[in-house]
Every structure is written in structure tokens, then in C-alpha cells.
Symmetry: C2
Subunit: 402 residues, 2 copies
């Protein structure tokens, strides 16, 4: 008995049959005596189809008009899901982003939520209605439609759960929960019963693709209990994501791979203060996100600085640095994107001895060369050749997780 | 130079190429120094496709959720047209029904417009923007999305033109204008340069299908000058619809056919007062619309009452009357729907002698039997066998219009 926010992604509402399945999950929850607020994404490929339509007309359409277009995808989903719930005989109201009170910043295409005006939703809940809300969208202070960008519907759901002080935010996906590694790549991958926000953040940013980081960050900030569940296999208990989890149960929570990595090295820069500052403020000014940074130990008064960025930024970054070689006093730029980042994640791993060495040993035994290493409190990442990545995932997984 | 409202129907925005064509018409009008507000319908078959999706999930979906669903069709159109206008380098803003200030009554599916809050549109026009508005939709006092029902986008355009005191409301369709008869049926059909509101109302209700009656009624009420134009043949001048037209130019404005007619006769009712009242209040109580009514001259103290209704109502009406034969003191019910209503329309025809007889003569010469006759100030209608209808259209057209 409580207030539950349920979020269903695009594949969960991809066709009439799946929508009816979602309606069953929602009404079962309601019939158990809960108040239910449902957040849905656009059906399957709707968003991509709409983007295709736009491109045919104007490849450089304004973000404002793209948002007007794309927000129709979720509006279709909320009405269809509400109709399916009506068919089961339950009271329901669908609400678009503006009707549900989602007020965002002005930026189109990736707006942040400023505030949720809860009056309408609370009013409908008070009338015993199930409320179905369009994810991914809101309006800005000009009353223009905005969208929240990637992972938007997850963020909508968590923001709603926080605003309504919901007892739980259930994220329904087409997987059973959060795994120790991608089950398509690692045959021994295991589902986790629970994971902490921080571990989930590392897993998500490393390509686990179950939940978007923005939504996990928000859940952590407002202590929203997340529960990742399968909309297709209803018997399976899923994974709970919360603040504190039993540390003793398993040290390493997962092994993740990220192939969207490019490595860029600035070779032969002077070994004196201020060089790194100059380089990274130049990258920031050009809106280039940097992930891992490594600086070699100076030798002959020069050093090398290497960093990783996303593949889509590689060309632009290399061109930028080559025009600035003079001002950076560097010899040359080296780069490559045939690499993969493999990471192990687990809260408190730095207080346990031997985690890093065990990971390196597993790679060494498999004859896999490590190009760069980066560590944080709950993560160790290595860059390796992309051709070794699947094998690396498996040997590391088997070394830590039984 | 002025403020022009332009309305484009579903076939005018059916694909990317046609949307670009519409953008050209709109921006040409703007480039001539006009303020332009554009109203668009959903693309081609979008509305039917959405209805199909809904039926698959719930054949008895609530009108509220149907409106949430269907209103996405126009929202897609406004964004795509705005993108096409952006591509031509002109400033534009799209507005959904609620953003454009359309406030309607609460009834979903066929809401009437209560009021248009003009602030947002006037604000955008003041910033020199072309404004593209979603037709067919608004919101009611609960902030729920409503749709205006059949002919809705025409009505949106005329209501906007009235509210904004526009100089003209241009209705773009896939025909060149209003014709003296359907050019697909009558080879000598001629395009009218101008027609009065009343004549257009009769032509529209008789199946001319260029403009919905609701929009013509509203245009008449608020003296909005309508201009029917082709979005495909831009050179053609189209048809103007306004209060007063030059009566001398042509007496008969058009010949129209309506095949959605069923004739029902109540045979052998007592020839005394109150019978017709009883019959038609019964029909009204059952929400059955009646068009032509004829009562035979009494004979042997009984008479026959015949009337027409739409085909979809025939079965229900006959069943109703058969259960009420006793209370109506009638002998029996006769009915049939293999009939067609052919009408000639022209303001002031009743002050000209010989119009009716000329029509009947044309039919007689062609050997076509007249089943019922009905006349009004600007219209004469006859019911004939449906198999004669195309021939009847042609002989009447040729008798009046050269």
C-alpha cells in the first residue's frame, strides 16, 4: 500500500500486445491498493521515425521544432496505454508533460527539470485515478515544449517519484535487472539483487545501458528507491538500487565495457607547470568532454599527456590540437579509436587489497596488453585493444564473480 | 499588406514534397509584406492510422484519450511545416492548440470553440514570426485536450481569422475552388469566381465537400472573407466566399448531389392535428435528424407522411416507428435508400419565375422520375432514383449553367 511510480521504456510499449501487458502490470499494482503513476516513453522506433521525417524536410531543423515533433511520440504512448487500462475497467487519466506540470529550463533537446507542479497529478490521484504521464518532455517558461534528451523518461520517472515522495520508483525494461556484466557477452554474468547508487552510476556510465546516469544521480540526490524489473518476465525479482547495500555479499558488482572511446596523446610537451591547464581549458572551451587522463613521468624536460574522449569527438579534437601545437609547445598528436575500456565496479574496493592486481593478473594470463589504467574509489578501468575486449570481459568476470 | 490566415488540409501536407510546397506559398505571402498565420491539419491518413491503433487496443476508448491521441497528428504537421519554413530562411514558430489559446467546451471529440486567447499569437506576430497553428484542437476548462470534430481545421482557421480580424482567410485544398457541380461527375462544371455564404452553406450541405458547414456559418457570422484556393495549382484564382455577390452574374450557383439519403414513409395516419408533432418529437427524442418532410393531401381521412434522413439512421428509424405504429395510429412504414438528392442552389431564385419548372422540365425530358420535392429560398431539391443521379446532375447543370 503506497504510492508507486512505474516507468516503461519504448520496447515495453512497442505494440498493442505489449501495451496490454503493461496495462496488466499497472492495474495489478493498483488493485493491490496502491496509488500508481506511470511514466512511458515513445513506442519502439517512433522517435527515430520522427527524426527521419524531419531530416527529409530540413536536416538543420531548430531544436524548438524538433521538440514539438518528438514530444508527440510519448503523447501517443500515454493515450494508447490509458485506453488499454480503460479496457480492463480501471479509472485512468493520461497527462502530457505540460499537463503533468513538468517545468524545465529553456534549452530545447536536453532541458533540465526545474520543478514539477504536482497539483494536477495529486488531484487525479485523489480521485482514485491511475495517472499516465508522458516521459521525456515538459515546457519552459515561454510555454514552449521541451524534451529532456537521452534517458529522459527515466529522469521524468525519478523526478516524479522524488516530487511525490513515492515509496518506490519501478523501472521496467526488457532485461531482468542489473547484471554483473552484459549477458550477451559474458556467459557467466549474474543478476544482482541489489546495488548502490554509486555502483550503479559507474556501471551505467560504463555502458550497462539499463538506466541513464542522470536518473541515477537524481535518485541518489533525493533518496528515491529504484527497482529495475522486467516488463516481460514478471516473476523475476529484478534489482534494487538504494543508498546502502550489504557490502559483505560481493565486493565486485560488475564488469562493464565501453567501446565509445578514443585515445589522444599530446607528445613531447615541456615538463613545466601550466601545460595541462592550458590543454584542458582549451578542450573545455570547445565543449570536448574528457574521461581518463594520464600524464607520463617527465624525461629530458618533456612529457606526454594522454586522454580519452568519445569517438565522435576524436576528429575535431585532433584537428584542434594540431592547429595549437605551437601554443602548446608540443611535438605532435597521436590518436586511435581501436580501443575499448573495461572496468570493474564495486563500492569499497580500494580498501580491499589485491583487487587491481587480480584484474591485471587475469588480463596478463590471457595475454591482453593494457594501454592505460585509471582508478577511482569504486572503479578500476583499463584501456585495451578493441579486439581483445570480449575476451577481457570474460576473464575478468570469471576472476571476480563466481 | 495585411494579416492573412491560411489553412492547409491533410492532402496539402501529405508528404515532404507537399510540405515544402506549402512552405513556399506561406513564405511568398510573408515576403509580400503580410503577417501570416497558418492553420494545418494532420498529414494525409495520419488520423485514420491513429484511430486504427486505438481500435486494436480498445474499440471503446474514451473520447478524452482519443483526443489526446488524435491531436498528435496536427502537432506533427505544425512542426514539419515550421521546419520547412525554417529551411527557406524565414522566422517561424509552431503552436499547438493550447499554446495558440484555443479554449473549447468540455465535450471531447466535437468540442465547440469558446474563445481564443490571442496574446501568444499576437506576441509572435509582433516579433515578425510566421505562426503555424495546429488546427482541429484546443483545451477545455480542465486543461484537457479536446478536438473539434469533422471539418475542425477549417473551423480553427475561420475562428482565428475572426479573432485576429484578419483581412482574409485562405482555405487551400486539392481542388481549384468551388464548382457549379462536381467536375468528376459533370463534364461542363464551371469554377465559380465568387459565391455568397448562404449559397456556400447550401452547396456544402449538399455534398460539395470543399468546406465544412460549421466553418462557413462561422465565417458568415463574423464576416470573415473566405478564399478557396488550390495548393497545387498556384496560378488559379479560386473562389471567394463573401456576404454579397453580384446577383446579375449567374442565378444558379451550383448543382449538387447527396447520396447519403434514406426515405421513410409512414402510411395511413389519421388526417387530424397533432400527428406530425407526435412523429417528429419522437424522432427528435431519439436524436434522428430529419431533412426533407412531405405530407400528402388527406384522402379518406388518412394521409401519408414522408421524410428523409441519413442512410445510417434508416434501420434504427424504421425499427422505432414499427414499434410505435399503434400509438401513431399508422398502417405501416415504407422505406428505401436507393435514392439520391439533387439540388440547385442560387440566392434569390424564388424571385425569378420559372427556375423550378426549368429544373423539372430538364428531368422530364431525360425521363427521370421525381419522388419528392423540397424548396427553400435559395435551393430546390428533388429526390430521384440513385441510378439516374449522374445523368440528372448533367442535364440540370446544362439547363442552367452554360
Amino acid at each position: 500500500m503506497g504510492l508507486i511510480v512505474q516507468k516503461f521504456g519504448g520496447s515495453s510499449v512497442a505494440n498493442a500486445e505489449r501495451i496490454k501487458n503493461v496495462a496488466q502490470i499497472v492495474t495489478d499494482t493498483y488493485a493491490q491498493g496502491n496509488m500508481v503513476v506511470v511514466v512511458v516513453s515513445a513506442q519502439g522506433d517512433t522517435t527515430d521515425d520522427l527524426i527521419e521525417k524531419a531530416k527529409e524536410i530540413n536536416p538543420n531543423a531548430s531544436p524548438r521544432e524538433m521538440d514539438v515533433l518528438l514530444s508527440t511520440g510519448e503523447q501517443i504512448s500515454i493515450s494508447l496505454l490509458s485506453m488499454a487500462i480503460e479496457a480492463l475497467g480501471f479509472p485512468v487519466k493520461s497527462l502530457t508533460g505540460w499537463q503533468a506540470g513538468f517545468l524545465t529550463k529553456s534549452t530545447h533537446g536536453s532541458a533540465r527539470i526545474n520543478k514539477i507542479n504536482k497539483e494536477r497529478i495529486e488531484n487525479e490521484l485523489g480521485k482514485k485515478n491511475i495517472v499516465v504521464v508522458a516521459g521525456f518532455q515538459g515546457i519552459n517558461r515561454y510555454d514552449d515544449i521541451t524534451t529532456l534528451g537521452r534517458g529522459g523518461s527515466d529522469t521524468s520517472a525519478v523526478a516524479l517519484a522524488a516530487a511525490l515522495h513515492a515509496d518506490c520508483c519501478q523501472i521496467y525494461t526488457d532485461v531482468d535487472g542489473v547484471y554483473t556484466a552484459d549477458p550477451r557477452l559474458v556467459k557467466n554474468a549474474r543478476k544482482l539483487d541489489e546495488v548502490s547508487y554509486d555502483e550503479m552510476l559507474e556501471l551505467a556510465s560504463l555502458g550497462a545501458q539499463v538506466l541513464h546516469n542522470r536518473s541515477v544521480e537524481m535518485a541518489k540526490k533525493y533518496s528515491v528507491k529504484l527497482h529495475v524489473l522486467s516488463s516481460l518476465n514478471r516473476g523475476v525479482p529484478g534489482t534494487e538500487i538504494k543508498e546502502v547495500v550489504d557490502m559483505e555479499k560481493m565486493l565486485i558488482k560488475g564488469v562493464a565495457r565501453d567501446n565509445d572511446v578514443a585515445r589522444i596523446s599530446l607528445i613531447g610537451v615541456p615538463d613545466r607547470p601550466g601545460v595541462a591547464f592550458k590543454l584542458f581549458s582549451l578542450l573545455a572551451a570547445n565543449k570536448i568532454n574528457v574521461d581518463i587522463i594520464l600524464q607520463s613521468v617527465g624525461r629530458n624536460n618533456t612529457k606526454d599527456i594522454s586522454f580519452t574522449t568519445s569517438r565522435s569527438h576524436m576528429k575535431q579534437t585532433v584537428e584542434l590540437l594540431e592547429t595549437q601545437l605551437g601554443s602548446l609547445n608540443a611535438e605532435r598528436v597521436e590518436y586511435g579509436d581501436n580501443i575499448s575500456k573495461i572496468s570493474i565496479v564495486g563500492a569499497g574496493m580500494q580498501t580491499h587489497f589485491g583487487v587491481a592486481s587480480k584484474m591485471f593478473e587475469a588480463l596478463s594470463d590471457a595475454g591482453i596488453n593494457i594501454q592505460m589504467i585509471s582508478t577511482s574509489e569504486i572503479k578500476i578501468s583499463v584501456l585495451i585493444d578493441i579486439n581483445d575486449s570480449e575476451r577481457a570481459l570474460n576473464v575478468i568476470h570469471d576472476a571476480f564473480i563466481v
